[in-house]
């Protein structure tokens, strides 16, 4: 992993502030020299409820995929219910297209630990696990070294910061299965069982989570933001973003652009066009834009020439509907949702006019076919079936009815399964076949 290039003028590196520096090392002394643990100390001068109120007022939304308001989630925990509470940090980072949490885990582990300390103090949690994907083979040792350093300083363990508060943090490695990123699967995995997602309700692990106790599951990036909310204050933090979606968001751009990479941008500060053509240096010479997956492979694909009707407050404050082209789409959770997709994990996969959409969908179908946990029949059977159909279309063995068949299979998965993998696996097929209908029809007719 290399250091990030100099920031684009539109970027504001808060989470990636430290790792942008040449020779930034993941040890405690370096972190302390960069203002490390100042906000953890500050947290202990605040009331837990004040911290939760700050996170709510900051409009922080989860960075793991669902963009759920973090303060609201935290509000489900009753600090004084007498039960043990747990924090599980989601570092599974396996949504295709996403590559930001690993940077923090490997290069700035203390920033994550500081976020964990503040979160645990706010929610009366004394045991936290960092769940990481095991393909990050060096991350466990890096994190455990950081934990040890923090312990020696009295920042973790017993009586931290001399405040009479105990907190233990451990690192738990997964086993190479995408489904473990789903929060209830993660909990089962952490309990040592087959990681089958749990049946809902309860909808939130904050009600029944790890070991059947109230548990907060948050993404690595989400937890890091907490420090910066305390540092900047909720109003300045919220102001960086748009209404209901505060702060910065790390966008991961991959695929057909000149400068793929991570870009930490104030939420809503740029449009999709600016991100791709300005910040990422545009497409390869002679190429034109064909499609964009805006929020990880599970989000619905957007076609380059699509025009969305997006509601916006007009000059007089009343909501007006505005026609918006893909390149003018503002990158915040609300706008991307209004365009019929989602900001998800902010993983933008760009495809130019050289790409075959049947081929691209087939690649994703194979991913979902491999990763279904197999618990629900519509998902287990459906994802494999979709993958077989797209594979045969690609090989010139398709039937004219295949595009419709694909769509129907997807329709019969979404909404009929135990976990949101069902939707995640259906949305690509539904959106690709709808938006590139001609290309699918042509492929199906090819013998």
């Amino acid at each position: 992993m290399s250091t990030l290039p100099a920031p684009h003028p539109k970027e504001r590196r808060i989470i990636f502030g430290n790792v942008s520096e040449q020779n930034y090392a993941p040890d405690l002394e370096t972190y302390l020299a960069h203002g490390g643990y100042n906000e953890a100390k500050k947290a202990f001068t605040m009331k837990p409820d004040e911290i939760i109120a700050e996170v709510k007022a900051a409009n922080l939304r989860g960075r793991g995929g669902a963009a759920f308001p973090t303060g609201v989630k935290w509000g489900f925990i009753r600090r004084d219910d007498g039960k043990p509470h747990y924090l599980c940090v989601n570092g599974d980072e396996s949504e295709p297209g996403t590559f930001k949490d690993g940077v923090i885990l490997h290069q700035d582990p203390h920033q994550l630990l500081e976020g964990i300390i503040i979160t645990c103090f706010a929610l009366n949690i004394h045991l936290a696990y960092i769940y990481i994907r095991c393909e990050f083979t060096h991350a466990k040792a890096i994190l455990e070294k950081a934990i040890e350093e923090a312990k020696v300083r009295g920042f973790l363990g017993k009586n931290i910061f001399g405040q009479g508060f105990d907190l233990d943090v451990y690192v738990h490695e997964g086993g190479g299965a995408y489904i473990c990123g789903e929060e209830t699967s993660l909990l089962e995995s952490l309990e040592g069982k087959r990681p089958y997602p749990r049946i809902k309700p309860p909808y939130f692990p904050a009600v029944l989570g790890l070991y059947m106790s109230p548990t907060i599951v948050n993404n690595v990036e989400t937890i890091c933001h907490v420090k910066h909310i305390l540092r900047l204050g909720s109003s300045e933090y919220a102001k960086m973003g748009t209404a209901g979606d505060g702060g910065t968001r790390i966008m991961c751009v991959s695929g057909d652009v000149m400068r793929p990479g991570t870009y930490e941008l104030p939420v809503g500060a740029v449009t999709m066009g600016e991100l791709i053509f300005d910040i990422c240096g545009g497409l390869r010479p002679g190429r034109s834009l064909k499609a964009i997956i805006p929020g990880g492979s599970s989000s619905k694909v957007l076609r380059a020439d699509e025009v969305f009707k997006i509601k916006k407050p007009g000059a007089d404050g009343a909501m007006i509907e505005q026609e918006t082209k893909l390149v003018d789409l503002v990158l915040d959770a609300g706008s991307v949702a209004a365009a019929g997709s989602m900001i998800g994990s902010a993983a933008v996969i760009v495809m130019d006019d050289s790409r075959n959409m049947v081929w691209a969908l087939n690649n994703l179908n194979q991913f979902y076919a491999h990763e279904s946990c197999g618990q629900c029949t519509p998902c287990r059977e459906g994802v494999l079936w979709m993958s077989k159909v797209s594979t045969r279309m690609l090989a010139g063995r398709g039937h004219a009815s295949d595009p419709k068949m694909l769509h129907t299979i997807a329709d019969n998965i979404a909404g009929r399964t135990i976990c949101a993998f069902g939707e995640a696996a259906s949305w690509p097929t539904q959106s690709f076949t709808e938006k590139f209908a001609e290309e699918f029809a042509t492929a199906a007719a090819q013998q």
Partner: protein, 172 residues
């Protein structure tokens, strides 16, 4: 399951045992939670988890062997047979595929004598000389530097065809 073939379980070095005991302390609420950590420690040491390993880990955590077997078989990372000396994992997912990872996979298979069709389904075919195992894996969270591979425990980014030649030569 019967332990007629206790091999790995009879060869646990003290250092591994120490790490195992330490890992169990990370889960004060439930010993069972130490299942994955113990499997990782075991596989890191022995290269795979044999039947005796499954039974030993289960006994250590006060579980039936099936409780370990059912997770060994669920997770792609764990193996019940020995892999080749060098494990090459090629990312198969969209951003890497767009950057040519299927071609790299084919090249590796050809260079190591592995049937590439076999390699296209998941699972880990091993070269006839036992030197390489090659596996197609899903997104490795490094899509910005596609295509990527893992050579044993190390990630290699922006892999080129020339890189593959070097890697295969180095590990042959």
């Amino acid at each position: 399951m019967t332990s007629t073939t206790a091999i790995q379980a009879s060869q646990i070095p003290p250092a591994l045992l120490e790490k195992i005991e330490e890992a169990i302390t990370h889960y004060p609420v439930s010993r069972r939670s130490a299942a994955l950590p113990l499997m990782h420690l075991w596989q890191n040491h022995f290269g795979f988890i044999d039947e005796s390993g499954i039974e030993w880990i289960a006994a250590k955590l006060e579980l039936q062997p099936i409780a370990i077997l059912e997770i060994v078989t669920f997770y792609p990372w764990f193996r019940q047979t020995a892999p080749g000396k060098t494990i090459i994992r090629v990312c198969r997912t969209l951003s890497c595929a767009m950057a040519g990872s299927y071609e790299l996979h084919d090249q590796i298979c050809k260079a190591t004598g592995i049937d590439s069709e076999q390699g296209h389904s998941h699972g880990m075919p091993t070269s006839p000389d036992g030197k390489f195992s090659v596996e197609f894996v899903e997104c490795l969270a490094s899509c910005g530097t596609a295509p990527v591979c893992m050579i044993n425990n190390d990630l290699v980014e922006k892999v080129t065809s020339a890189d593959i030649e070097t890697i295969v030569a180095q590990h042959s």
